[in-house]
């Protein structure tokens, strides 16, 4: 593992972008890592897009706002268009397939595509956990925190009234993990 892992999560509001980042940050906190989570904020949200930057590091973190990332998890076309160029060479780009018309074109980064919304809807009957499928897949490829800590984090980040959904989220994480193990990288 690198000293620091800098990740951008991006998509539409309502896709659970911010909580993906928070869960990973929380898990890293449990592991006593240095973390920072920084959302996009303000009227950008009106346009319907949301993103957050998560930095997990062994050292004190300087800027929480970055222009280049080690990896990206993107859930819609505008975010893909915006952030594909910001992934550092050798980095990792994970994207949700269903909203993407023009797939990424870079060949100097690792790229993985998952139809997470479809999977979530079909296999788990809950569209909303697509983000957790992506988290599971992401951690398989970039194991910056332990899965057990992600499960602990879920309890902290989900509001009490959603705790009955934790098993479902767990399933989604596993589904994503499995998918990432089995899937080929997208070749461009």
């Amino acid at each position: 593992m690198q000293k620091a892992q800098e990740i951008i999560f991006a998509g539409f509001g309502g896709q659970g972008i911010l909580s993906m980042g928070q869960i990973i940050a929380y898990a890293a906190m449990i592991e006593n890592k240095e973390i920072s989570w920084m959302p996009s904020y303000g009227p950008e949200m009106r346009g319907g897009t949301a993103n957050c930057t998560v930095i997990v590091s062994d050292q004190r973190i300087s800027s929480p706002i970055l222009s280049k990332f080690d990896s990206g998890v993107v859930l819609n076309q505008p975010s893909l268009d915006k952030f594909e160029p910001s992934i550092k060479p050798g980095g990792f780009l994970l994207y949700e397939a269903s909203g993407i018309i023009n797939p990424p074109t870079r060949n100097d980064i690792e790229i993985l595509s998952i139809a997470a919304v479809e999977e979530a809807t079909k296999k788990l009957n809950k569209r909303q956990v697509a983000n957790m499928i992506l988290v599971g897949a992401f951690l398989e490829r970039r194991p910056i925190v332990k899965m057990e800590n992600i499960l602990k984090a879920l309890k902290k980040v989900l509001p009490e009234r959603h705790h009955h959904l934790i098993p479902l989220n767990e399933q989604a994480l596993m589904l994503g993990k499995k998918f990432a193990q089995e899937a080929e990288n997208v070749t461009v």
Binding site: N76, Q77, G99
Partner: protein, 85 residues
Amino acid sequence: MIKGTVIIDGVICKGCELCIVACPQESLGLSSHINKAGYRYVELIKDNCTGCVNCALVCPEAAITVYRQPKSALKKNVKSAEVIG
């Protein structure tokens, strides 16, 4: 009944469905596709539009253009409006 039609700009439609609710003819429906901005957009789904303009008036995106047979003209068929985009 006067014959009318609408052209809906599917690129800018945000799928709010206010036009659907406003249409007395139930002529409009959501497409199963999503546009670039991520919204399911509205289409003319029936050929019974009267050009009453209701849909256009409530559309927050100013996405709807309305056409209507001149009152003097004879009724004739028009093809349903295309979605642009």
